[in-house]
C-alpha cells in the first residue's frame, strides 16, 4: 500500500489537502494548513530508505508507486523544499482554486519522481499538465487565457507521444517497467517516450511553450511552474535516457539558444523563462554525455537551479506585484524603494551565473568539467558561452534596467507582503549555504563525487569570466537597452502546423457534411416523415401512459447535465480532473 512505516508517499498529503480544501469554511484560517503537506513531504523524504514500496496490480501488471533510490530521493528532496518555499510565497493568496492547482501540481511531480512504471508515470504526468494549466489561467486576463490554451494543447501533444510510446512498448516488451534504455538498442517506442519527455524538458525546438506561457502565469504560479515541470522531465530523462548523444547536442544548443533570446527580451519573467531553457540545457547535455560526473552534474544543477530560479521568479514576481508590470521598459530606478528585493534577487542572479560561493558555481562547473574530461570540448565551449550570456542578461541587464538605471522612480508601489520576503530569504540562504558547503548537495548525488569546486584556478576563472562580461556590458549598455517587442520563436511553426491540420481535417469533413445534408433533405426526410406518422399512432395508443413517469426523470437529469455543460474547456478540465482523481483514489486505497 501507499503507506508503510518506512514510506509515506509525499504526494499523499498534497492530494488529501487539495480534496478537502473546497469543503473548509471560514475566510482564511485554512491557509495555515497549506504548509503542512510540504513539511510532511520533507520529513518523509529525509527518512526514506531505498527500496520498492506501494506495489499495485492492474491488468496483471505491477504498478510501482514508490521506487526509492538515490536518484529519486534527491529530486524529491528539492521538490519538497521548493514546495514549502512556493507555499510560503503564495501564502497571502486567498483564492482556493490557486492553492488546489499548485497542490495537485506538486503531487503530480512527486508521483512521477517515485513512479516505477510508465502507467503510474503517465497518470501523474497528466495530472501535472492539467493542474499547471490552471496556474496560468488564474491570472485571469485575455493574454493568459490564450497562453494557457496553447500551453495545454502542447502538453497534450507531448503526453500523447509518451502514451503512444508506452503502449507500443507494452506491445513489444509486454510490461510497463520504467528502466534505463541502452542507447545502442533503442527502439522506435523508446524514441517516442523520449520525445514526450523532451517536450516537458523544453528541449529546442520543442521549447516555445515555456517562454510563451510562464510569463503569463500568476505571480506565485510562475514560482511553482519554474521548478517542477522541466525538472521532473530532467529526472525522467536522467532515469531513462542517460548517454543518448542527441541529448548532449540538443542540451548544449538549448543552453546557447536560451541566452541569445534572453538578451533581446523585455519582460523580466520572459527573460527568466528563456534562462530556464538555457539552464535545463546544461542538465540535458550532462545527461546526454552520460558519464558519472556529468550525470552527477546534471542532477546537482537541477537541485541548485530549482532554488535559485525560484528565487529569481520570486524577485521578478515582487516587481510585478508592487509595480504592476514586469516589463523593463516600464520599470527602472527602483533600487532605493525596493532595496531588499534587489539584494535577494541578486543572490539568485549570481547563483545562476556560477559565481563562486553560491550554489550555481558548485553545480554548473561539475557539468562543464565533466564535458572536458569526456573530451567534449565543443560542448564545453558552448556551455561557457551560455554562462557568459547568463550573467549578461540575468545578472546585469535585468537588475540594471529594473532597479538601477533611470532616476528614482515615483510610481505608486503596492506594499509587498512579508511572507513573500520570507520565502525569498529562505531560498537565498539555501543558495548561499550550498555554495559555501558543497557537501550539503554533493552527499545526496547518485554517484560518488570526485570533484573539488574550489580549486584556486577554477575560482579565478569564474571571476575573470564574469567580471569581463561586466566590462562587455559597460561597452554595449546603450545597445542592449530593451524596447517593447515580442520576438517570434518556434511557436510560429507550431501554429502553422496546427492551422495546416485544421485545414486538412476540416475541408474534407465540411465537404462530406454538405453532401450529407443534401442527401438527407431529399431522401431521408420523406422516409422519416412516414415513419413518424406510424410511430405517432403507436405512441398515442400504447406508450404514453407508461413513459410519462420516466420522461420527468430524463428531463431532470438533462437539466443537471445542461448546468454542468458550460461550454468552457476550463470547467470540463476541472470536472474531468476531479473525476479522475476520485477514481484514482478509490483504486489506490482499495
Amino acid at each position: 500500500m501507499t503507506m508503510t512505516p518506512d514510506f509515506l508517499h509525499p504526494a499523499f498529503g498534497f492530494i488529501l489537502l487539495a480534496l478537502i480544501l473546497p469543503f473548509l469554511r471560514g475566510r482564511d484560517w485554512w491557509r495555515w494548513l497549506l504548509p503542512v503537506p510540504a513539511v510532511a513531504a520533507i520529513l518523509s523524504v529525509v527518512r526514506m530508505e531505498p527500496g520498492t514500496y506501494g506495489i499495485l496490480h492492474y491488468l496483471d501488471q505491477p504498478l510501482v508507486l514508490g521506487r526509492v533510490d538515490r536518484l529519486s530521493v534527491i529530486f524529491a528532496n528539492v521538490f519538497a523544499i521548493q514546495a514549502l518555499i512556493g507555499t510560503l510565497y503564495a501564502f497571502h493568496v486567498r483564492e482556493k482554486a490557486h492553492h488546489i492547482a499548485s497542490l495537485l501540481y506538486v503531487a503530480g511531480s512527486f508521483g512521477c519522481t517515485f513512479a516505477g512504471d510508465y502507467i503510474t508515470l503517465f497518470i501523474f504526468w497528466e495530472l501535472m499538465s492539467v493542474s499547471s494549466t490552471f496556474l496560468i489561467w488564474l491570472r485571469r486576463n485575455p493574454l493568459s487565457t490564450r497562453a494557457g490554451f496553447r500551453y495545454f494543447m502542447f502538453h497534450t501533444v507531448g503526453g500523447l507521444f509518451l502514451l503512444a510510446g508506452l503502449l507500443l512498448r507494452y506491445h513489444a516488451a509486454g510490461d510497463f517497467l520504467f528502466n534505463p534504455v541502452d542507447p545502442a538498442s533503442a527502439h522506435l517506442y523508446d524514441w517516442l517516450i523520449m520525445i514526450g519527455f523532451c517536450v516537458n524538458a523544453a528541449v529546442v525546438p520543442l521549447h516555445a511553450w515555456l517562454p510563451d506561457a510562464y510569463p503569463e502565469a500568476t505571480i506565485p504560479g510562475a514560482v511553482f511552474l519554474c521548478a517542477f515541470t522541466t525538472k521532473t522531465a530532467v529526472y525522467v530523462l536522467a532515469r531513462g535516457f542517460a548517454g543518448f548523444e542527441v541529448l548532449a547536442i540538443a542540451g548544449t544548443a538549448m543552453a546557447v539558444y536560451g541566452v541569445l533570446y534572453a538578451c533581446i527580451e523585455n519582460d523580466a519573467r520572459r527573460i527568466l523563462s528563456y534562462h530556464i531553457v538555457s539552464q535545463v540545457g546544461y542538465m540535458v547535455a550532462g545527461i546526454g554525455i552520460g558519464t558519472a560526473m556529468t550525470v552527477n552534474g546534471a542532477v546537482a544543477h537541477a537541485y541548485a537551479h530549482i532554488l535559485y530560479k525560484g528565487l529569481l521568479f520570486m524577485g521578478a514576481g515582487c516587481l510585478l506585484y508592487a509595480a504592476g508590470s514586469s516589463k523593463l521598459t516600464e520599470l527602472g530606478g527602483l533600487v532605493g524603494r525596493l532595496p531588499w528585493v534587489m539584494i535577494l534577487y541578486m543572490v539568485g542572479a549570481v547563483s545562476i551565473s556560477g559565481m563562486p560561493f553560491f550554489n550555481g558555481f558548485i553545480s554548473k562547473n561539475m557539468t562543464i568539467h565533466g564535458a572536458v574530461e569526456a573530451h567534449r570540448i565543443l560542448l564545453a565551449i558552448g556551455l561557457e558561452i551560455a554562462a557568459v550570456g547568463t550573467f549578461l542578461s540575468v545578472g546585469i541587464k535585468l537588475p540594471y534596467f529594473a532597479f538601477w538605471s533611470k532616476p528614482t522612480n515615483k510610481m505608486e508601489l503596492k506594499p509587498i507582503p512579508l511572507n513573500m520576503y520570507l520565502a525569498m530569504g529562505i531560498a537565498a540562504a539555501l543558495c548561499f549555504a550550498q555554495g559555501l558547503y558543497p557537501h550539503m548537495l554533493y552527499s545526496l548525488l547518485p554517484y560518488p563525487v570526485e570533484f573539488h569546486p574550489y580549486a584556486h584556478w577554477a575560482v579565478l576563472q569564474a571571476f575573470l569570466l564574469l567580471s569581463f562580461t561586466g566590462l562587455g556590458f559597460y561597452f554595449i549598455r546603450r545597445i542592449i537597452v530593451p524596447h517593447p517587442a515580442r520576438n517570434l520563436d518556434f511557436d510560429v511553426l507550431y501554429r502553422a502546423v496546427g492551422n495546416a491540420l485544421v485545414v486538412l481535417i476540416c475541408k474534407p469533413l465540411s465537404l462530406v457534411d454538405d453532401r450529407w445534408t443534401e442527401v438527407y433533405r431529399t431522401a431521408g426526410l420523406r422516409g422519416l416523415l412516414r415513419f413518424a406518422a406510424g410511430s405517432s399512432w403507436f405512441d398515442k395508443k400504447g406508450i404514453d401512459t407508461v413513459v410519462d413517469g420516466s420522461a420527468y426523470t430524463v428531463r431532470n437529469v438533462g437539466g443537471l447535465s445542461a448546468r454542468l455543460q458550460t461550454g468552457r474547456l476550463q470547467d470540463y478540465l476541472a470536472w474531468a480532473l476531479l473525476a479522475a482523481l476520485c477514481l484514482f483514489a478509490i483504486f489506490w486505497w482499495t
Binding site: G336, A380, L465, S467
Partner: protein, 89 residues
C-alpha cells in the same frame, strides 16, 4: 518619494559616487588579470586557456558579439508588437 536607510544609501551612491564605483571596477579587472599572470591552469583544457587573460577576452568578446548580433541583426527580423501573441488575427 523619499527613500530611507539602506535603500537611500544605494539610491544616492549610484548617483553621487558613480566615478568611485567605476574606478573600483577597473581596479578589480586589472587585479584579476594580474593574478592570472601567475595563476594558470595546470594543463590546457581548451587549447589556449593557459595564456593569461584568455577567459577575460572570452567573456568580453562573447558578451559584446552576442548583443551586437542579436540586437542589431536578429531582433529587427523577428520582432512583433508587444502584447500581441497571435499572428493570424
Amino acid at each position: 518619494m523619499e527613500t530611507k536607510g539602506f535603500g537611500h544609501w544605494l539610491d544616492t551612491t549610484r548617483e553621487e559616487q558613480k566615478g568611485l564605483w567605476k574606478v573600483l571596477f577597473f581596479v578589480l579587472l586589472a587585479g584579476l588579470v594580474g593574478v592570472n599572470l601567475f595563476l594558470r591552469p595546470h594543463h590546457a583544457e581548451y587549447g589556449y586557456d593557459t595564456i593569461p587573460g584568455f577567459w577575460a577576452a572570452f567573456g568580453l568578446l562573447v558578451s559584446v558579439l552576442m548583443v551586437l548580433v542579436m540586437k542589431k541583426i536578429v531582433q529587427p527580423l523577428i520582432e512583433r508588437p508587444e502584447d500581441r501573441d497571435d499572428d493570424d488575427s
